[in-house]
């Protein structure tokens, strides 16, 4: 077998390797990006709003894809189990829309970060 053929075969094999990007993984990636945007200290309120709006549209598509993905049914992987363990935390856009809250308010609520808890927070030793 010539060197060229070997290289071509190796390249084809690499292409044939399935990418580790299922619908759940894509959703997780997009959601983590959106949460980072929510918490980014260097963004102005306007920039943050614009970024979040665009991100929400992308995120809602991915959330729908995960919910409609029949191949996930009963699939016992950690990612899938954790994704469906908490609907409100996984499907942020859908859940916030249900409750008529903004995405940020909904996420903070899920994290247990309300105005009251933040106001009562104290710095000190455990």
């Amino acid at each position: 077998m010539s060197k060229k053929t070997l290289i071509l075969a190796a390249a084809l094999m690499a292409l044939a390797t399935p990418a580790l990007a299922g619908s759940v993984e894509n959703l997780e990636r997009e959601r983590s990006g959106l949460v980072s945007t929510m918490l980014a200290p260097d963004l102005s309120p306007g920039e943050r709003q614009e970024s979040l709006a665009a991100g929400q549209r992308r995120l809602v598509d991915l959330e729908r894809m995960v919910l409609r993905d029949k191949t996930l049914s009963g699939r016992e992987t950690t990612a899938v189990r954790m994704a469906f363990a908490n609907y409100d935390l996984t499907f942020l856009v859908l859940a916030s829309g249900e409750k008529n809250l903004s995405l940020t308010d909904h996420w903070l609520e899920q994290m247990g970060l309300s105005t009251e808890t933040l106001q009562n927070a104290r710095k000190g030793r455990r």
Binding site: M65, R68, L72
Partner: protein, 291 residues
């Protein structure tokens, strides 16, 4: 009497040699993961193929061939004895007795091989059934059932709130889809088409019993039951062979008697009709019962 004893001794030695050869013939299939994962119809075919290629399969095929040959010989001898007279007739009767004894020896050997075949099948199918049950239990764990339930609840919740979310996000109930989701939906449709083609492919056909589709587990249970039934039939056939052997020894005694009383050879051979080689033991009964 001397001739009979010599014939019997020779027969015993011959049968011992044959039995020794058949007793070392083995078949040791394993219930591998690969076999368990096959389609049910292919499991049965794969095992049959493996058996045919094994020592046990070869020995059984060999014995079956010898049995057919022996039955043909007995039929020929019967036919000849009917038309013979005097010393020739006695000689033919004597030969027929010897052939019948050899025939019964071969039948016994065949039954032993078939019994081993049936017991091995029971063991292998039983192992496959246990492996399949174990892997089914792992798949249907409590967590798995819980996950499916959560997924179902999530879908219901999504369907209930989908319009409200679209209204909030896009100001309309019909949300525009992005290019990515359109491509994704197209790919999902293609995947479903391919899966459907795979499921309906004739080579992927599931097991059927009496025309009814059955699960792999049920199919394997049926195979175990079939092998058990086969083993019981073999035991019953062994009883038949026992009675045939008794008849042969009575025929031998009758021949000795005839020879002792100046052997007029007038007694005809047992009036069996010259049948063609029988296949089963029960079919061979006419070779042993006089009319």
């Amino acid at each position: 009497m001397n001739r009979t004893s010599t014939a019997l001794a020779a027969l015993l030695v011959f049968c011992a040699a044959q039995a020794a050869q058949a007793s070392i013939a083995t078949w040791q299939p394993q219930a591998s993961e690969k076999l368990v994962r096959m389609q049910p119809t292919y499991i049965a075919k794969a095992l049959d193929r493996d058996f045919s290629a094994s020592d046990l399969g070869t020995a059984l095929a060999d014995v079956n061939g010898k049995i057919k040959g022996k039955a043909a010989t007995i039929a020929d001898l019967k036919d000849a004895a009917e038309h013979a007279a005097g010393e020739t007739k006695i000689e033919l009767r004597h030969q027929m007795l010897a052939e019948k004894k050899e025939y019964l020896g071969l039948i016994g050997e065949q039954q032993d091989l078939r019994r081993r075949h049936a017991k091995t099948k029971m063991r292998v199918y039983g192992e496959m059934l246990r492996k399949l049950s174990r892997s089914n239990n792992l798949r249907e764990t409590e967590a798995g059932g819980e996950l499916v339930q959560k997924q179902s609840e999530a879908r219901k919740r999504f369907l209930k709130s989908s319009d409200a979310v679209d209204l909030k996000l896009f100001g309309q109930t019909t949300a525009p889809t992005s290019k990515y989701s359109a491509e994704y939906a197209k790919n999902v449709a293609v995947i479903e088409q391919l899966l459907s083609a795979i499921n309906t492919h004739p080579m992927n056909a599931g097991a059927e019993i009496d025309g009814q589709p059955v699960s792999k587990e049920e199919f394997l249970r049926q195979q175990v039951a079939k092998a058990e039934t086969e083993a019981s039939l073999i035991d019953q056939e062994a009883q038949i062979v026992g009675y045939m052997a008794k008849l042969v020894s009575l025929d031998a005694a009758a021949l000795s008697d005839d020879l002792a009383s100046s052997g007029d050879g007038e007694e005809g051979a047992a009036g069996e009709d010259g049948e063609a080689s029988p296949d089963g033991v029960a079919d061979a009964v006419s070779m042993f019962i006089p009319e």
